[in-house]
C-alpha cells in the first residue's frame, strides 16, 4: 500500500505521565513527565546523552526510616530515582544532572521554617551525597507551579497562574 502524498488528521501527541503527590516516574527518549507543586518540590534528574528523565514529587525532607512511597521523601526519592534510571540505562554509564522546582510558601501566616525550604535543603544534601550536580532551580515564592519535563529535550516548562510559562 502506498502512502498518500498529503496527510490530514491529528497526530497522536507524545504521552504525558502525571506524577502524583509522593510519586516518581521515569521515561526514555519521548513523552513528558508532569506534576503540580505547591510547597512540595519536584526533583528532575536527566541524562542528556541517553535521553533519560526521572521526576519525583517530594513531600517531606526525611523518611525517618519509613520510605514508602519512596518518591515522597527527599532521602528515598534520590536513591529510588537513580536506581530506576540506572535500570533503564542498562550497562551504559549514567551522567545525571538535577533541577529543583517548587517549594512555595503560599501562606504568609505560616510559622517556623517552611516545609518547602526544608525539602529543598534536604534534596541539596542528598544530591551532593549522590554526586549529582544541581544545574538549575525555580523554587520558593508564593505561587503553585505546573512542572513538565520533556524527555527528548530535557527542557522543563513551568506554568503558574497569572504568569507566562517559563523554561528551565
Amino acid at each position: 500500500m502506498s502512502l498518500p502524498e498529503t496527510f490530514s488528521g491529528t497526530l497522536a501527541p507524545a504521552a504525558t505521565t502525571t506524577v502524583p503527590i509522593g510519586g516518581l516516574a521515569t521515561a526514555r527518549r519521548s513523552g513528558s513527565l508532569r506534576t503540580f507543586l505547591g510547597s512540595c518540590v519536584g526533583l528532575a534528574l536527566y541524562d542528556r546523552r541517553l535521553q533519560l528523565a526521572g521526576l519525583a514529587h517530594v513531600v517531606l525532607p526525611d523518611s525517618s526510616g519509613n520510605g514508602s512511597p519512596p518518591g515522597k521523601y527527599a532521602d528515598t526519592a534520590v536513591v529510588a530515582l537513580v536506581a530506576e534510571l540506572s535500570a533503564l540505562a542498562g550497562s551504559q554509564t549514567l551522567r545525571l544532572t538535577a533541577r529543583l522546582v517548587g517549594g512555595a510558601n503560599m501562606f504568609a501566616f505560616q510559622s517556623g521554617p517552611p516545609v518547602g525550604d526544608q525539602n529543598v535543603e534536604a534534596l541539596e544534601k542528598f544530591l551532593k551525597q549522590a554526586d549529582i550536580p544541581i544545574v538549575a532551580r525555580d523554587c520558593g515564592g508564593g505561587h503553585g507551579r505546573r512542572m513538565t519535563l520533556h524527555t527528548a529535550s530535557g527542557q522543563i516548562t513551568i506554568e503558574s497562574v497569572g504568569n507566562a510559562p517559563k523554561q528551565l
Binding site: P20, I21, L37, S160, G162
Partner: protein
Amino acid sequence: MSNPPPDQFLTAFRAAAGLASEALSKWLGRPVSITIQQVEAMPLEEATGLLGEQEGTICGCAMEIRGSLQGILVVLSDDDAGLALAAMLLGREPSAGDRWGELEKSAVVETTNIIGCAYVNAMAKSTAATTAAMPSPPWFLRDFAPAVMQSIVMAQPTLSETVFLTRTEFAIEGSPARCSLVFLPTPDQADLSGAAG
C-alpha cells in the same frame, strides 16, 4: 484509606458547620444549605489530592487558628462560584466578564472572616477551653487546585503522616455561588493517634 473520627469530633464539627451556615445566611441575606462532605482522618497524600488533579484554578481564603483550637481553616471555591459570591456581595449580577479585582477579593475575604470565626467559636466552645481561639486575618490566594491543597496540608506547624480533615459545602439559594469550608486541626487537637487506629 480513611478512618472515622471520634464521636465527640463529629458532634462538634456538625454544630460548627451549622453555626457557620447561619452566619453566612445572615451575611448574604439568603437561605444557605450545607452538606458535610468529610469528617475523617486520612493519609497526607489523600488529603492533598482532595480536590483532584484538575487543570483549572481555584480561589481560597485561609486562616491560621491559634489558642484553644489550633489548625488551618480555608474557604475554597472555583472561579465562577467565587466570583458569583463576590458579585452578590457587591450588589450586582454575576457575568462572564467578572475578574478577580481588589473589591472581589475583599468580598470573599470578609465572607471567610465571618463564617470562619463562627465556625471556630463554635468549635472552641465545644472544647470547654479556658483560653480563646484566635483566627489570623484571612489570606487570599488563587492557584492550581493541587498546589493549594498541598500548601494547606503542609502549612500545619507539626507535620504528620495522617491528616484530620473536615469539609462542608455551602450552597446559596437561587445563586450559582457556593463554597467549601475545609478545616484541618493540628494532629494533637484531633487526637489522631486514636482516630487513625
